[in-house]
């Protein structure tokens, strides 16, 4: 009943995460009625190939190949914060509490999913540690078993060549102890800190 171009748009939209067939239809009808928005989205999509990965940290940047953080001379290049994915780096950046640089692994090691150390960006990290003057690695990986597996692997690999720390694990700010799971409580206790630090 619908023209093929319209039908194809619905099909494409419904492949996006969280968008079912019904929502895709609704969006398609909306776009037909808002041609200006449609054009903006289309040109944004056409420009997508111009988005590149920073050759130093892996974050997204334009084709000139170094992102705004890696090219900023006021960032401390001796401290590297290791994160799993670009969104994690953005989360830390938005907190404004870190002034070093980043390295994105693009994944976690997971034996039960067959994701090996070779499948994530560890070789690049090894090269940085060997060639650049890195003094400290801060592991800011997910608080999941795969994040933990990856942290342990990195620690065992580089413990003799660089100082390694990791972000604290514990009760989230605003969280109530009563509703916290057993593992979080165990970790919060075993990694407790002194109040006069």
């Amino acid at each position: 009943m619908l023209p093929p171009a319209f039908d194809n748009l619905i099909k494409s939209l419904s492949r996006l995460p969280g968008i079912g067939r019904k929502t895709a239809r609704r969006l398609a009808f909306f776009l037909i009625d808002s041609p200006e928005l449609g054009k903006d989205i289309a040109s944004g999509l056409i420009d997508l190939p111009l988005v590149n990965n920073c050759r130093i940290c892996g974050f997204y940047c334009s084709v000139d190949s170094v992102c705004s953080i890696c090219s900023n001379p006021s960032r401390n290049s001796e401290i590297l914060c290791i994160v799993t994915k670009p969104q994690d780096m953005m989360a830390i950046e938005s907190s404004g509490s870190f002034k070093g640089r980043y390295h994105i692994l693009f994944g976690n090691i997971s034996p039960l999913d067959g994701i090996t150390p070779e499948d994530i960006k560890l070789e690049e990290l090894e090269k940085k540690i060997a060639e650049d003057n890195i003094q400290e690695l801060i592991l800011a990986l997910d608080s999941t078993v795969d994040g933990e597996t990856t942290s342990q692997y990195i620690f065992e690999l580089f413990k003799d060549s660089v100082k390694i720390s990791r972000i604290a694990a514990g009760i989230p700010f605003g969280g109530e102890l009563e509703y916290t799971d057993k593992i979080t409580i165990t970790r919060a206790l075993s990694r407790r800190t002194s109040l006069d630090d």
């Binding site: 034996p111 039960l112 090996t116 999941t144 342990q152 799971d181 593992i183």
Partner: protein, 241 residues
Amino acid sequence: MDKVDAYISKKVQYGESDLILHLITKEMGKISAIARGARRSKKRFEAGLSNYILYSCSLGHQNRSNLFLLKETSIVKSFQFLLNSYRRISTAAYATELTALFMPENQEEPLLFEFLNHNYHLLDNPDFSPAVLVPRIMYKILELAGFPPQLDRCIHCNSLMPDTGARWGFDNNQGGVVCPDCGDLKPIVGINELKWLVAEVDELKNRRINRREYNNIYNLLSSFIRYTTRQWLVSEKFLIF
């Protein structure tokens, strides 16, 4: 509603917020269950449905589906020391995947489950090195699953493996060692390797296994498992020490 104790052997994302889990249970063998909203709600599923944790799971049945509905989980036992070591985690992953391979579906197999559970406890104990546990894990799971390789005497002539340290070859097809008189196979295992397979737990305490013995047993048993099951385990490559 059923309550089972289980380890998660595999997690698959399903749609936006659901997870499909493969569970190794004590009461029902291997089952699959869907955890609706698991990626949004942390309340019903303690510790976010992680591998390497023993959970108590509340299950429901779904109409016209052999997929159980996972309603709620709580931690029975977590293994903090295990999670502090890459080797221990890799060994736990392999033991879990190997158990899942041999565990029958929807059918109680308490000995296999108990052996897995027992190894989680050993891997959480600093007195046991993970490499020392691997040969015993592989051998015992094969034995419990009904595929024990014959390693102490020749599969053809039944002569006993000598305690001289001489190594014999292994025939995957026959599932046993072959003495030099009965066949010209590449020598792999001798009495020194065998002792790691059949050792009592206490004998493995604070022991170290040398790389050659480890590799000999590991290569023999992993190729026998592949030959017997025609399956390749994804966690296998993590055990090459």
